[in-house]
Symmetry: C2
């Protein structure tokens, strides 16, 4: 089976012009077939402020109302996605931007209302990789923003980490998929304030222990749940760390295995 690298980048790369540019130059040189997923960074909040659109929160969590969905669609699928694609082209990496609506690639349903109505937030129910495989097999890298659709004309905000893991699972029947989550730390840390305390390997058993010890908590929990969800669905390998893990053989990062 061919290898496919699925790489997710977030705000720490997107929000810094130079960091993003450096990352895209290196990404372009990766030999294997590759797919990029990007989050939104701080630009959506900045645009909301400029437009005078209030950021609505309930129980500390952001609500995606109609205006907010418009803003994220404009920022994620428009400004960020097209500028990334244009930069990749400049680096001779042929790329095509995608939302989950394009090619009907990621279908979701509105997140069910329990305590909180999150508004236009979608939970993924189906991934179709046919169109993406057409491109990947022709040496073209899909570039995904964090939007999905419900196949009834409605767009949804969807977590970029989830998009990356669901795409990885979708490709896993035809490719040996390696999933890379780039973020602002060297990996999962034993001591959250010591960036050198990287836990190099985590498996199902040690994962449970790390949760019980309280080493893995807060934002790392959903991130690692995404990782194990991918591994349980035939994704070969999941790595978490700084973007160096992709480009430097001596870099330290966390590899997650079943």
């Amino acid at each position: 089976m061919k290898t496919l690298k699925i790489i997710k980048i977030g705000g720490n790369i997107i929000d810094n012009k130079k960091t993003l540019s450096d990352f895209l130059i290196k990404f372009s040189k990766l030999d294997d077939p590759k797919l990029l997923v990007h989050g939104g960074g701080k630009l959506a909040t900045k645009l909301a402020n400029q437009m005078g659109v209030e950021v609505k929160m309930t129980s500390g969590r952001r609500i995606t109302d109609t205006d907010t969905l418009d803003i994220t669609t404009m920022v994620y699928a428009g400004k960020i996605n097209k500028n990334i694609v244009a930069q990749l082209q400049a680096n001779n990496c042929n790329a095509v931007g995608f939302s989950g609506a394009d090619g009907n690639t990621i279908v979701s349903v509105k997140r069910p209302v329990k305590d909180v109505d999150f508004g236009f937030v979608g939970d993924v129910i189906k991934v179709n990789t046919q169109v993406l495989q057409l491109l990947v097999n022709n040496n073209i890298s899909p570039v995904f923003c964090a939007l999905t659709h419900d196949k009834n004309g409605q767009l949804f905000n969807t977590n970029a980490d989830t998009i990356a893991s669901e795409l990885a699972i979708g490709f896993a029947k035809d490719y040996e998929v390696e999933l890379y989550y780039c973020f602002d730390k060297n990996g999962v840390l034993q001591d959250v304030v010591d960036d050198d305390s990287v836990i190099l390997n985590i498996n199902t058993t040690t994962y449970k222990e790390l949760i019980e010890q309280g080493t893995i908590a807060d934002g790392m929990l959903p991130k690692l749940n995404n990782c194990f969800h991918a591994l349980e669905n035939n994704v070969s390998k999941v790595c978490v760390g700084k973007q160096d893990m992709l480009f430097q053989s001596d870099s330290k990062f966390t590899t997650i295995e079943k």
Copy 2:
């Protein structure tokens, strides 16, 4: 050769939710392979006003500065493009949104400064249809917004009529291309205030006569120049009129031939 319909729609369709929705339902039912090009309508100006970004004009023509390019990228490639794609998916028409940067499909250069510096406005120099043909041959409709790139990482605003004609020319070596410009009139009119006075056929000879008579002037001139440019470069047929021309056999519209 297979037939490909390239259809350009503008503000009179995009700016009205119901008109756009009706159009997309009918577009989805067209049998031939098809590609949609959309303009930006009034949304970009509305967003600029909301953001407090001044619309800059010189000699009555709009200048695309950095802020304006950001706005058009967000509105054209984000909000309008993704909502059109999502609606097409709801109508079981598989579609993928494109700017000229995606797939390196439309390369342009900054419009040379003569009397006016138009800013980030690109004149098309090259069209690559390989990626688009992959999709079209798999029954997927590309949906283009009016943005191009210079292959050095810079996006440009480019006239949507021009994008439609340049794509038509790019496809003409492999397809029998029919190019349709949908706008708010029944076609080229003998009498500009009488929508029933459609000139059914125009060719190179009658075109010159109509210009000399003053029948074709103002905004119609660049539109028809685009049409003849396409015909002179192997596009089979160019039609101008209301969207009915695509769906109703008894509708009147203007067909332009060499």
